[in-house]
């Protein structure tokens, strides 16, 4: 009798060259040949990110996510919400990243014991058990160079000797008995602007998403409240589970007992009604002439509505048409690079000086005899603006209750380009 066994059965980690380098089973062992279906799909997909996240096979379903060029393939046997599995897999990756700093094949292989231990704790019989980073860190201490050295000398291990009590409390996200000599709470307001700009420079769509990432190192059980000068700006928000929703609904104040360490307090979306100020403009002239083996390429960047803050770390990238053989361009600043195989042009501009606008000019050589490409390339822009949140969101104040000491508080604003595209 085939019984429905729900949730996650097994997990396979597949690297970019298609090797399974780690597997873990929570129930009976599933043969790794099940991954053949995955490899088939991988072959069929033109790009790595085009592998369908859900692949049905005769007896199982494979749900995969791609992060850091590693596929995390979960094997399930019956109905389960796909997002449930996907979200969990991403949580696994986040945990690895949190533990090892990076989530690469090498890092996973180096820490294989910790990886197994983590996976063992995160799922019980295929159902998520402990996914909060604070609890996991109490169960299994993250490896550091110092601890590895100490461990080899003293013979102690990474596994916490004490059982975590956090799992039992009503604030499961915070570990107990936190102690710091310097009590500090830092908040980073990071906003990303997603935009599509059309040929003529007018905005087709522009949206601002923001997050507030916190790094809270406070002793004891602090209860924080964070209020904004202009909370009405926030159109749609999602919270870390620690935030008290009712309080937000009633007063638009974030009230929470924070987890220990780094966490994402809030992500938000700024309502579309507010017109988004686009901080950068691009003048472009990219032409291919019929019958000629040369194409012209001209690009000039300039700041626009940046509230007096400078544009930094500007990076331009563009996928040129297949017909382009090579480019001969001249940047007024920064370095540019063209890969003739992938046809990817990238230009690391750096800082934009409003007095002297950066430009990239020159010619492209096209395949002789080939017809003129029908599409002009899209230009992707990345940039950063320090000390400013584009939406104008401002934190009013941060208060702490429940503990007596005075914490050190800090807040930082930053704006970044998200998916910022200029169609030419």
């Amino acid at each position: 009798m085939q019984l429905p066994a729900k949730m996650i059965h097994s997990l396979f980690l597949v690297n970019s060259s298609g090797d399974i380098f780690l597997e873990k089973h929570w129930k009976s062992v599933v043969s790794r040949s099940v991954c053949d279906y995955f490899f088939e799909a991988q072959e069929r997909a033109s790009e790595p990110e085009n592998v369908p996240p859900v692949i049905p096979t005769p007896h199982h379903y494979l749900i995969s996510v791609l992060r850091h060029r590693i596929y995390f393939v979960a094997v399930i046997q019956s109905e389960v919400p796909p997002l449930f599995v996907i979200e969990f897999l991403h949580r696994v990756v986040d945990t690895f990243q949190d533990y090892f700093g990076v989530c690469t094949e090498a890092a996973i292989k180096d820490n294989v014991v910790v990886v197994y231990e983590l996976l063992e704790e995160m799922l019980d019989n295929g159902f998520p058990l402990a996914t909060e980073s604070n609890i996991l860190k109490e169960l299994i201490k993250p490896p550091t160079i110092l601890r590895t050295v100490v461990n080899t000398i003293t013979g102690s291990t990474n596994v916490g000797e004490q059982l975590p009590t956090g799992q039992l409390s009503v604030v499961p996200w915070r570990r107990t008995g936190v102690k710091y000599t310097n009590n500090e709470a830092y908040f980073d307001v990071v906003e990303e602007i997603d935009a599509i700009i059309d040929k003529s420079g007018s905005t087709i769509t522009a949206e601002i998403q923001g997050v507030i990432d916190a790094c809270v190192k406070l002793t004891g059980m602090p209860d924080l409240t964070l209020s904004f000068m202009n909370p009405r700006l926030l159109d749609d928000v999602s919270f870390h589970p620690c935030v008290r929703f009712k309080r937000w609904e009633a007063e638009r104040i974030l009230s929470f007992i924070p987890p220990d360490g780094n966490f994402r307090l809030l992500s938000y979306h700024v309502s579309c009604q507010n017109l988004v100020a686009i901080p950068v403009y691009v003048k472009h002239n990219i032409t291919f002439r019929e019958g000629s083996s040369q194409g012209r390429f001209e690009l000039t960047l300039g700041p626009k509505q940046t509230m007096g803050k400078g544009l930094e770390a500007v990076l331009i990238s563009s996928q040129l048409p297949r017909g382009v053989l090579n480019t001969n361009l001249n940047p007024s600043q920064g370095t540019y690079n063209f890969d003739p195989v992938t046809k990817l042009l990238s230009w690391d501009v750096g800082k934009i000086n409003p007095q002297k606008l950066p430009s990239l000019k020159g010619s492209m050589s096209l395949q002789a005899g080939a017809s003129k490409p029908d599409e002009n390339p899209t230009i992707n822009i990345q940039f950063k603006i320090q000390q400013s949140a584009l939406s104008g969101l401002k934190v009013n104040r941060l208060d702490m209750y429940g503990e007596k000491y005075k914490p050190f508080k800090g807040i930082k604003y930053m704006t970044k380009a998200g998916k910022f595209q200029v169609r030419t």
Binding site: L3, P81, L83, V159, I196, F245, E375
Partner: protein, 1004 residues
Amino acid sequence: MSSPLLHATVCCYAFECSSFLTNPITYGYMDGFDSAVQCVTVLYWVCDPQMIARGKNASDLFPAVVKNVACKNIEVKKLVYVYLVRYAEEQQDLALLSISTFQRGLKDPNQLIRASALRVLSSIRVTIIVPIMMLAIKEAASDMSPYVRKTAAHAIPKLYSLDPEQKDCLIEVIEKLLADKTTLVAGSVVMAFEEVCPERIDLIHKNYRKLCNLLIDVEEWGQVVIINMLTRYARTQFLNPNMNEDKEEKEKKKTEATAIVKRKPYVMDPDHRLLLRNTKPLLQSRNAAVVMAVAQLYFHLAPKAEVGVIAKALVRLMRSHSEVQYVVLQNVATMSIKRRGMFEPYLKSFYIRSTDPTQIKVLKLEVLTNLANETNISTILREFQTYIKSNDKDFVAATIQAIGRCATNIGEVRDTCLNGLVQLLSNRDELVVAESVVVIKKLLQMQPEQHSDIIKHMAKLTDNIQVPMARASILWLIGEYCEHVPKIAPDVLRKMAKTFTNEEDIVKLQIINLAAKLYLTNSKQTKLLTQYVLNLAKYDQNYDIRDRARFIRQLIVPTDKSGALSKYAKKLFLALKPAPVLESPFKDRDHFQLGSLSHLLNAKAGGYQVLPDWPEAAPDPSVRNVEVKESVRAVETVTARDRGPLGPSSGEDVKKSEKKSKPRIGSSESESEEDDDSESESSESEEEESEEESEEETKKKKKVGNERLENTRTTDIHTHTHSERRNTHILNCDSQPNTIASVQVFDTICKPAWLYMQFLLNPPLPVSVPQTIIPSGNLKTYELLHRITGEGLSVEYCFSRQPFSPDPHMVAVKIQFTNSATSEAKSLHVEDAKLQSGMRIKEFPEIEVLPAGETISVVMGIDFCDSTQFLEFCDPNHCTVLLKFFVSIQPPVGELMMPIFMTENEFKKEQGEHRNQCMEIKQYGPHFDCHAVVQRVTTAANLSRVPCGSDKECRFAGKTVTSGSLVLVSVVTKEDGAAQLTVNCEKMVIGTMLVKDIHQALTQ
């Protein structure tokens, strides 16, 4: 550290495997297992399935490894568990050796050890231990620690998959755990329910409201499972909120003017509303799976007008990882067909970027097409125009399909689209041309007369275009509309006859079709050509083509024997064919529960629970009523209402109490029209009331030797009519006369009596019952409102530690108003208290006037639900004439309990029994004297001292106000002068916080 045997064997193994040596962590292993790290690594290596893949089965190490199960080192222990679970099935006899260790673990005083022992025991897949597992699960299900109970819930599906015979026993356990009130257990037990007995929906009834109320505090994974289950539940228990609209639609479709069905006005069940209200905040979850679960719940259960709220959250998810986007877009695609308006404001969020993966692009295109209507079509088409130029040809093909669909759905733009597509026919990319041809073919079918020039243009394409589908489409078009292109058609056939043998099968079939149609319309020119083509086809390799040729020859070429059918050949071939409807592949996918795997694959996955259709008539809603233990509460409500010196007259009082009971009378009518979070309070009370009500009812049915109820009953009989009139009267004065309209039958029977009781107990004359508040020096007062912020009015509160007589489950909070302003303050009252789920509040009566310079004290009762997470029960909003102040009350944990008397022996007995509960021990330095300890502990917590002989020990006892769980505290002084603090409490949270507070008090 480890047994020598393990050491030796593993070393041998280790040498065999070279990859083992490459792992830097294991370099030191050759020195012997003197460190746990090495032991651990070896164990992991032993457990590593990759070893097995290489044919090195590590199961022969079993005895050596399992010996380590008793090891003290936690990491080694854990790894042995991993190993054990992995190999137990192969080495059943040996696995049994380890069982006793776990059985010992199950009795451990530490709850975490009990839990982990159960977790491993239940993971060992050996049938012989099924009875042991069953016993362990049963025991753990009634463990004091919610964490162990959670583990028990986790173990249920494991045992069920090992031995399905145990189903009935397991259902009993599930039933028991479903009744659990802690958030920790809720998610896990519902998961077990879904795996073992999803069909036993009856188990949910009694727990439905509790699950709804707990939902927000359950961990995220549990939330997903619960919401999905509740969606199914709601579909079986409530009525379709959209039934009237749906009916209307159907009626419109049928255009039956006569079918005016007697429509009952739809009234939403309050429980249905409760579910919708309590899930809504979860749209703000950071977990995409939770958001999706709520979204599908709203899509399947909410009235049309309310479904819109989910759009924003779903659009937000689209900024997440591409896998999340993929799944969300699939669901949005389905939703956007049924409820287009919902996503229209977010149209631009579905615009496609060149960097999106193709599968995302195609899904976005699908959504954009679904959203297209007369008003936005021009922007969408402009957007599509840029997509057509993309380098990604699969995407371009999909865009052309999308344009075709827009053109068929929206008549106004059909010509524009067609022209655009015709232009694409000169595109350099063959795939683009081919796709355009296919789409144009479909469009032309709608109005062929006007477009003979397009058909001519396409006929020319046959020379160049190679894609079979496109060639076939062109041939079909020419054949179908050959009378529009009488000159070109025979020529095309001629060319095709020449290349016939080299064509693909679908093209060949269309050539035969074309030949047949031409033969019928223009036999003079094409007779020979047709014969030729049919002859070629007769000897084709493909039998389909041979078949077709034979069939057509018989049908169209007149012979002596030709059957009756050939007369109708023209009708058969040149019948007017209906234009194809271009449909979304996502149409009607919503018969699968959204967000499910089955929906995504559009095929039923194993274990999928079908989402039932709404019932025609709602099943009995009273099955969800829950009995409450305390029965006296309701009756006492009015008798002992606390009143300040300037309290209101009793007439008002009655009205107040009436207000409280109003919602339940109106409950059947429900608040379907008004719904916002601010009314959570009323719903809370409503729910509680209905509990009381049902309890009242049951009591009435039983009424065994209960004097009070006997009385009630007599009163009921004697004064039935009278009280009913009263009831009406009272309700009327509440200025909501319509509430009576929907009073249900049982209401009219039981409630008037109940109300009347209140009436009797509360004589109409104003009787002031002065509240006795002992002014106690050691009561700590807290500031609620400062004089300056309060514009002259200052408010302080303290926990009076008096039992709050109207409701023993409430904590009495004494509030003191001082008016230091120059003018008098009027009408002080609580407005709009925002309560956390489960909390209740008994407001103090309104203070009409507070003259300048005077002070007044009132008492209000608050049921904090023994909860500490939401200690800051938000703002009773003290409203003066012009001003409103937001304030909040936070009780220290020590105030959530009340003292009980206990003898020393009882105390010891209880403590022994509750040994497994939270036990926190703290050490203190020397010099503690008994008296100081007593004073400090009683100040910190509302506990009473347990008398005892020794002055080395101080014991205190109390119980929590809401749930009545025991709280035991003891401070024992040791010989060296140090002291030890022990707190036992079933409620982990209370226990932990209490330890902290008392610890603080003692160390001050």
